[in-house]
């Protein structure tokens, strides 16, 4: 028995080893390497000036307006897109859940935005809002040059994000809806609760774990927004996000020291979001599991 157990243990590790090694090589090591690089003055254009400078990179980033501006933009985009997605995702989930006919077609349609290449989706919306090639201005009877001003550019970016990811949110919410027992809703209906009361008092509380998972997923995903902004504005008109700032410092300016420090700060941002979610909602998450 003991022999069998240790065999099983060895086999378990053996089977996991390739995947774990690959993940360590492509994630853990680069993160530690970024941490190390961030302590150096290291610009590929002036490699001879490489020197250990401690936390100076962090000081120059955290005292620069560029970083706080990018962080502010990222938070605006994250909060507005995730909350609007939740707002739109619910009716979408209800439609998918309740629909009696065309069920397959509707579900298939919601997968289209998920499967479409983000760059292509962003380009499609960019061309649509373009004043010369686009149909949006003709449709609205406007002469707006959308991507040349900060707030209208934000509007197009948020719209693109929402279009792309609301269906994903709705699918997760729909999976949560299937956890709500039908007789409970019927009982509430018999007791005279109207549709809105049934929704707020019964459906939402029971779906809480699913909602939290969906919102956490989408928040972390939205926080790293890159493709959409890159295609629509390249960060111009004051729409730069933290991922774009990281990319620009690294790949465009080739400043590995500063870029690494930006990466580490983004990483810390993601950790903070996760901790906030787990601290704030962890209790209700496990409660939901127990209730099942």
């Amino acid at each position: 028995m003991n022999q069998k157990k240790s065999n099983e243990r060895r086999l378990g590790w053996l089977l996991c080893a390739p995947a774990v090694t690959a993940l360590l090589v492509v994630t853990a090591y680069p993160i530690l390497y970024a941490l190390w690089l961030s302590l150096f003055r290291y610009d590929l254009r002036f490699p001879e000036q490489r020197a250990f400078i401690g936390l100076d990179n962090y000081v120059s980033i955290l005292t620069s307006e560029v970083w706080w501006h990018a962080l502010g933009n990222t938070l605006i985009l994250t909060i507005s897109s995730v909350s609007l997605e939740l707002l739109l995702g619910f009716p979408l989930a209800l439609i998918m859940h309740h629909t009696l006919f065309w069920r397959r077609a509707v579900r298939a349609a919601t997968l289209i935005p998920y499967a479409m290449v983000t760059v292509v989706a962003a380009l499609a919306w960019k061309f649509a809002f373009d004043p010369t090639t686009g149909f949006v201005n003709a449709l609205l009877g406007m002469e707006q040059v959308w991507l040349t001003q900060r707030w209208s550019a934000f509007l197009v970016i948020i719209l693109t994000e929402i279009w792309k990811t609301t269906p994903f949110m709705a699918l997760l919410l729909m999976a949560g809806l299937t956890l709500v027992p039908h007789d409970l809703i019927q009982a509430a209906r018999v007791d005279g609760a109207n549709a809105w009361q049934r929704f707020i008092k019964i459906i939402v509380p029971l779906m809480k774990p699913a909602i939290l998972v969906a919102v956490l997923f989408r928040t972390l995903d939205a926080f790293r927004i890159f493709d959409t902004v890159f295609i629509l504005t390249r960060g111009a008109q004051g729409t730069e996000t933290v991922s774009l700032l990281g990319y620009n410092t690294f790949i465009v300016s080739l400043n590995l020291g500063l870029g690494s420090a930006v990466s580490v700060l983004i990483f810390i941002g993601v950790l903070i979001i996760s901790v906030l979610f787990i601290k704030g909602f962890g209790a209700s998450l496990t409660q939901g599991e127990k209730a099942e």
């Binding site: 996991c16 680069p30 629909t99 292509v120």
Partner: protein, 278 residues
């Protein structure tokens, strides 16, 4: 009264269905329409083209850059998928079936990896690849794609593997099969649909990637289609290549959409099982 309610309900949800479908299809139809417009009609601000022309498609396929990028996209995405699903399958099997310390840690680690932003590792990988000569190569993209592909594969497969009737595996082992034989002969065929689902989702992820593709490549050697269309300049610099970009976009979108529409039920199951049950 009851009849009327039913009818109202049908109309109500039917309208909802129509709106959902219009919403999902709008940008797809628009980009297809743009790709079919003749260049002199590109600026007509109409949603549908007046005349249909395949000129844009002819131009991008006769250009050197686009076919090379398409080949890179396809090759890199397929190899990444095979690699991630194979390694992910071993790991998921071990996590679900075998008792060993650290299995929960591996699962949690995989989920954490899937959540963090790729821009964090772009710089270090860029620098490492420059030193070891992997910059602008297929392998140089395939390896970093494992950061999102492996966690996705492990997560989806372990969620599916939990649902498989493992008594068959036990029976095979009682009959004298080694765990390896039991796995290959009994479990892999049962798990085939799950493996297939994981493969589609990983493929979509790799096919969609943009950040790694623009940061770790520079030429036709390894640059994939999303990266190429973002920097597309067209044959002449006096003409905005909108029509060409649209045609290239359609070429990389439509095949994936067809796969997704055919296998939609499995994909929905894969997306929701991992997220909600996990």
């Amino acid at each position: 009264m009851r009849m009327r309610n039913d009818l109202m309900g049908r109309v109500f949800w039917g309208m909802g269905n129509l709106m959902v479908m219009a919403y999902a299809l709008l940008p797809v139809l628009w980009i297809i329409s743009l790709s079919l417009k003749q260049s002199r009609h590109l600026n007509d601000q109409r949603f549908f083209p007046q005349t249909i022309s395949l000129e844009n498609y002819r131009i991008i396929f006769s250009d050197m850059q686009f076919p090379a990028a398409l080949w890179n996209s396809l090759g890199i995405a397929v190899i990444s998928t095979v690699l991630a699903v194979t390694l992910g399958m071993f790991a998921a099997y071990a996590i679900v079936r075998l008792e060993f310390p650290g299995r929960r840690l591996i699962l949690a680690g995989a989920l954490a990896t899937a959540m963090f932003p790729s821009v964090v590792i772009i710089g270090p990988i860029f620098n490492m690849w420059r030193t070891v000569g992997l910059f602008d190569t297929w392998l140089g993209l395939i390896i970093p794609y494992m950061t999102f592909a492996l966690p996705l594969a492990i997560w989806i497969l372990s969620a599916f593997f939990r649902e498989i009737p493992w008594e068959l595996d036990k029976a095979a082992r009682v009959d004298g099969a080694t765990p390896w034989q039991a796995f290959i002969r009994v479990i892999v065929p049962l798990a085939a649909p799950a493996i297939f689902t994981a493969a589609i989702l990983v493929f979509i992820f790799a096919w969609n990637d943009f950040l790694f593709a623009i940061s770790l490549t520079s030429t036709n050697n390894a640059r994939t289609v999303p990266a190429v269309i973002a920097f597309f300049t067209g044959s002449s610099r006096f003409e905005l290549p909108t029509g060409l970009i649209a045609a290239a976009s359609v070429v990389i979108t439509v095949p994936v959409l067809i796969i997704v529409l055919i296998f939609q039920q499995r994909i929905v199951a894969g997306l929701t099982s991992g997220a909600v049950k996990g």
